[in-house]
């Protein structure tokens, strides 16, 4: 191939040169070039190496179906692999490099695979499971894992940078009446018609210019067309790909905002991921020209016919000097004439014996009844062997000197978006292509995506499509009709494969994945005859072009082998995305610290200012521990827990869920959702309660306070706050619609500090306007009161203890959180108190045997966690009928126990599996769920579960097996209430 820029053709701006780098060499192109056209203008022949055999590949198309020109753009963290040179606009300073080749695409050591091709035939990957083909040497997992490394290394074309993506992406949303995909003649006609009826119309075009196939017409003016649409009020989105069509006419779009010009506004994102909700979708996505499978049909210089016309009329690049066009249809003749006029020597090989067409025969030669047989040359085309066909046996008759072979095996409408909706395409045996099926949803196919070839007919179909949309939306009732599919004067004749009559050949069906006709036959021989099996076994159509060019050739070969018609073999389902989408675009701004929403408590800054190290607890940031200088986490939490037991500590527990429950039936409601009785809870008393799910397992625990006859205040665990709220709403709105109760989440309205330890009351005495409210008489355990902090700040005080010490929780309006912390902390300091975090809180509650999410993990019953006493026998409540069903009341249930290391110096970790001595295997008989160092006991302790619980195991020694850390230790089973089992301290 010898391609070059020529004068008097193309619409590029020759006054503006753009420099670019390819494989470390400098080149230039012009403003308006694609990377592909600029490479062709510089006569760059080899742009990539094929997937398995590392064969040299050139540019084979001019659009998204490209399977030869896949390169890596950019360097360092900006590296973007597998970019199609045909869809990449050229920009100043673009750096491109080849891929799947070592050391480079011009000289690739991997091309030795070409000679080892029998090892790499269809299914080679799967066959490695059975040993290394072809001898099945070394069966078994280990040899496969050994082999896998090399496969993985060889697989995949471009390589990612593995550095964090430096680009910013964003998500955007939009709505419209009609969204039109594709700005070809049909799409533009549809847009004009729809906007004329005063509808809100978005027209999406993946190219940087509108016009679709008209861009390859020499007389089409894209700017005028664009301005006209804009003036009419059509919202035109260029450089935007409709990659997926979803339920309810929702489209996923990717807009390439700065991909084509890295020097524009740095504030703009690289790409924008749009979700557009339309009332009707019109798809004018065009059609793909198919190639023809024959021996060596992949040598650089082979290309689709229309691509060559595109390069000439849009970019002013003549792609060859001596061009052979191989065809089975009428679509190539205009191109042949234009290429000849531009100075190329053109020979058309038409498979059809006789055709009736008017063209200038002096300009180029036409040979009828002839097909391409074999390309000679490996790095570039030297000549083409041609054959004639007698009874479908091909026989070489001649060799033509040439530097380019253009192929047209027919056209395939781009039915992808409709296929996303599950609409199966239908085979048209007259036009030899799949036509879009009938969509029940509001989707209309127009133009060549509908199988209409002629430009005038495409325009008519666009107008008809808009009228179809208007009718279906009930906006107007106009008669319309779609032009008939097809439109060629002479019928197309089947030409999928020109079978080589010698044994070894490379006739490619799928260029990008190196799937040959022989691979399809091999799949058939080995029994993979269903389309879906064929696809997976050969990987036909599984490369990032998704078989846009080759799929139908594969189907026709399988149909032949099965002696069936193509529609009986079927077609594979196309799934989103239509073209590859950057993961970064899907993630949008939800990266880094915006990956999840971040919740902080109102005293977050106060905690930080007082030295807190934070930890994530669900979405919340909570104080983990408050280290003093040079203190480790263990030193800190042991000091904090010790201080709480000896003196006093303050902890931010704002993240608890808080729900206001109001209404005349509140008591009845509360009584139905907790296992323990609430009907007789007096006003100003709170009660610890357990909620079950319908199936009898524990949902959550918390406290519930009775504020008045008709009003309660509920707290939930941090983790289940959202779920409990939804659950209460469901019960009230769906199941118990007769109850007059309202629930409101007030989690954000209240800030909460827990203050605990023997000195707590003395500290609080200094913090309250009226200290008498918290005396043991006025506020006994589980009582609460409304009071005021000094300065008259209203608060609620509940005498609740999670730590097992004398303890209170102070609830205050969120705006006063910092003030509260100042007041409490100033007083606590005088008693050598401390601030404590989640780690010390954990230590204190494990010592007491209090359960949290680690134990209430959705698999445990109220009896399992030793709280069976809290399940009332006198009332019915959610889960009461189910909590003892079948396995849930088995003697063998794993039940809550405490664990001590048998050797007090040992430590253990959560997740350790508990086994019987001398029987360490399988799932064991229990597990450790929470561990801590116990400052009170002076050694490690744990909570967890064991089959049969305390009755069976108390004071016996079992074995803890920690498979993660690969250690074993002897463990003694003890009561879960390891410190102050009678709770004397809480009641003090």
């Amino acid at each position: 191939m010898s391609s070059q820029r020529i004068d008097n053709f193309g619409k590029i701006n020759r006054d503006k040169e753009l420099r670019f780098k390819w494989e470390n060499k400098n080149y230039f192109g012009y403003d308006g070039d694609s990377l592909a056209s600029a490479m062709l203008a510089n006569n760059i022949k080899i742009v990539g190496r094929s997937f398995k055999y590392h064969r040299p590949r050139g540019i084979m198309s001019c659009g998204v179906e490209e399977s030869g020109g896949l390169v890596t753009i950019g360097v360092g963290d900006k590296k973007d692999p597998n970019v199609r040179v045909t869809s990449q606009e050229l920009f100043e300073g673009l750096v491109a490099s080849g891929q799947n080749a070592f050391p480079n695409v011009n000289f690739d050591l991997g091309s030795v695979n070409n000679y080892l091709s029998r090892f790499f035939a269809a299914g080679f990957y799967y066959k490695t499971f059975m040993g290394i083909p072809p001898f099945e040497w070394g069966r078994g997992t280990s040899i496969w894992m050994f082999f896998e490394k090399f496969i993985r290394n060889a697989a995949g074309m471009g390589k990612n940078s593995r550095l964090p993506d430096p680009d910013v992406y964003e998500h955007a949303n939009d709505f419209c009446d009609i969204l039109i995909v594709g700005s070809g003649p049909a799409g533009i006609a549809a847009a004009k018609e729809a906007v004329d009826k005063k509808l809100d119309v978005i027209l999406v075009e993946q190219d940087n210019l509108i016009g679709g196939d008209q861009l390859s017409d020499n007389d089409f003016d894209t700017d005028t067309a664009f301005k006209e649409l804009q003036n009419l009020g059509v919202r035109v989105m260029k450089r935007t790909t409709a990659f997926g069509l979803y339920d309810n006419c929702v489209l996923g779009l990717i807009e390439r905002v700065t991909d084509y010009n890295t020097s524009i506004d740095k504030e703009l994102p690289r790409q924008r991921f749009w979700i557009v909700r339309a009332k009707h979708i019109i798809v004018g996505s065009g059609a793909f020209e198919r190639h023809i499978a024959f021996n060596n049909n992949d040598v650089p210089g082979s290309m689709t016919v229309n691509a060559s016309k595109h390069y000439l009329n849009r970019y002013g690049v003549l792609t060859g000097k001596e061009i052979v066009i191989a065809t089975n249809n009428d679509s190539v003749y205009l191109t042949a004439e234009i290429l000849a006029n531009a100075g190329a020597k053109v020979t058309v090989l038409d498979k059809r014996e006789k055709i009736d067409l008017k063209f200038n025969r002096n300009n180029f030669e036409v040979r009828n009844g002839v097909v391409p047989y074999k390309i000679n040359g490996s790095r570039e085309i030297k000549s083409l062997d041609i054959a004639d066909s007698v009874n479908s046996k091909y026989k070489k008759i001649d060799t033509i000197q040439c530097d380019q072979v253009l192929m047209s095996g027919g056209w395939s409408p781009a039915v992808h978006l409709l296929s996303h909706r599950g609409v199966r395409p239908e085979w048209d045996s007259e036009n030899l292509c799949f036509l879009p099926g009938e969509a029940k949803e509001n989707i209309t196919m127009v133009g060549s995506a509908r199988g209409i070839w002629g430009k005038e007919d495409c325009i008519k179909s666009g107008t008809a499509g808009a009228l179809d949309a208007l009718n279906r939306l009930g906006i107007s009732k106009t008669n319309y009709f779609f032009p008939k599919e097809g439109g060629w004067k002479n019928a197309i004749e089947p030409l999928y494969e020109v079978k080589f009559n010698k044994s070894r050949s490379k006739s490619f069906v799928d260029f990008q994945h190196d799937v040959t006709c022989d691979d399809v036959r091999l799949a058939h021989r080995e029994g993979f005859i269903s389309v879906e099996h064929l696809k997976r076994y050969t990987t036909l159509g599984m490369a990032n072009d998704q078989g846009k060019m080759g799929n139908i050739i594969g189907l026709s070969l399988m149909a032949d082998l099965l002696e069936k018609e193509i529609p009986e073999v079927g077609t594979t389902t196309f799934r989103p995305p239509f073209t590859p989408v950057a993961i970064g675009a899907l993630a949008g701004r939800s990266v880094g610290k915006h990956f999840m929403p971040l919740r902080t408590t109102p005293m977050h800054q106060w905690n930080l200012d007082h030295g807190a190290t934070m930890i994530e607890a669900g979405l919340y940031q909570r104080p983990w521990y408050f280290p003093k200088t040079n203190e480790t986490i263990s030193e800190a939490y042991i000091r904090e827990a010790t201080t709480v037991r000896k003196s006093v500590g303050i902890c931010d527990v704002t993240s608890l869920g808080k729900i206001a429950i109001q209404g005349p039936d509140s008591t009845e409601f509360i009584n139905r959702i907790y296992t323990n009785p609430f009907a007789k809870l007096p006003i100003n008393k709170t009660r610890y309660g357990i909620m079950l799910r319908d199936d009898g397992l524990v949902l959550d625990d918390g406290t519930c306070w009775r504020l008045s006859d008709t009003e309660y205040f509920m707290t939930t665990s941090t983790a289940q706050a959202g779920r409990v709220m939804s659950w209460l709403e469901e019960l009230l709105q769906v199941r118990w619609t007769d109850l007059k109760v309202n629930v409101t989440s007030v989690s954000e309205q209240w800030a909460v500090a827990a203050i605990s330890g023997p000195k707590t009351r003395e500290v609080l005495n200094q913090c309250l306007e009226d200290p008498s409210v918290i005396s043991n008489e006025n506020l006994p355990f589980m009582g609460f009161t409304s009071s005021e902090l000094i300065g008259g700040i209203p608060c609620r005080i509940a005498r609740i203890s999670f730590s097992g010490e004398l303890g209170y929780e102070i609830y205050i309006l969120a705006d006063y959180a910092n003030k509260m912390m100042d007041i409490l902390w100033n007083a606590a300091k005088k008693f050598n108190g401390c601030l404590y975090g989640l780690e010390a809180l954990g230590a204190l509650r494990v010592e007491k045997g209090h359960v949290t999410g680690a134990e209430l993990d959705g698999r445990t019953t109220i009896d399992d966690v030793g709280l069976g006493k809290m399940a009332s026998n006198k009332k019915s409540y959610i889960g009461s009928a189910m909590r003892k069903r079948g396995v849930l009341s088995s003697e063998d249930r794993e039940k809550l126990v405490g664990f001590f290391p048998a050797n007090k110096k040992d430590t253990f970790d959560a997740g350790t599996i508990i086994c019987e001595k001398n029987n360490i295997k399988g799932y064991g008989i229990g597990r450790v769920t929470s561990v801590t160092h116990s400052p009170e006991l002076g050694h490690w302790i744990g909570l967890g579960f064991i089959k049969g619980g305390m009755e069976r195991w108390q004071n016996t020694t079992v074995v803890g097996s920690d498979l993660v850390r690969n250690k074993e230790m002897e463990i003694r089973v003890v009561s879960p209430h390891m410190v102050d089992p009678d709770g004397k301290r809480m009641y003090a």
Partner: protein
């Protein structure tokens, strides 16, 4: 993407909602025997066609909705509040 017409908020993406469950279940009374509860909780039809289901407008008005949806096409045939009194609220709003 499924779009649900919330009677209070209007048509919204399904990502604003959370799926509840089978809306055709008649939950037994809390006093009902275990067998009735087992049936209500574990036994479900696997419907090919239109089914009644509940959706919670979690990131919206927080109304629980009864939705008739085709499991084949995702087409939504009807949406109404689960709570009969809420129907009145919604009608008053319009």
């Amino acid at each position: 993407m499924i779009r649900i017409k919330c009677p209070y908020c209007g048509e919204r993406d399904h990502s604003e909602f959370s799926y509840g469950g089978d809306a055709s279940i008649e939950y037994p009374s809390l006093e009902a025997p275990q067998e009735d509860w087992v049936k209500a909780i574990f036994f479900r039809e696997n419907i090919r066609g239109v089914q009644k289901e509940t959706w919670h407008h979690l990131n919206g008005c927080r109304m629980w909705l009864e939705v008739e949806r085709s499991t084949i096409t995702h087409e939504i045939k009807s949406v109404k509040p689960c709570h009969p009194d809420y129907t009145k609220i919604v009608e008053n709003k319009q």
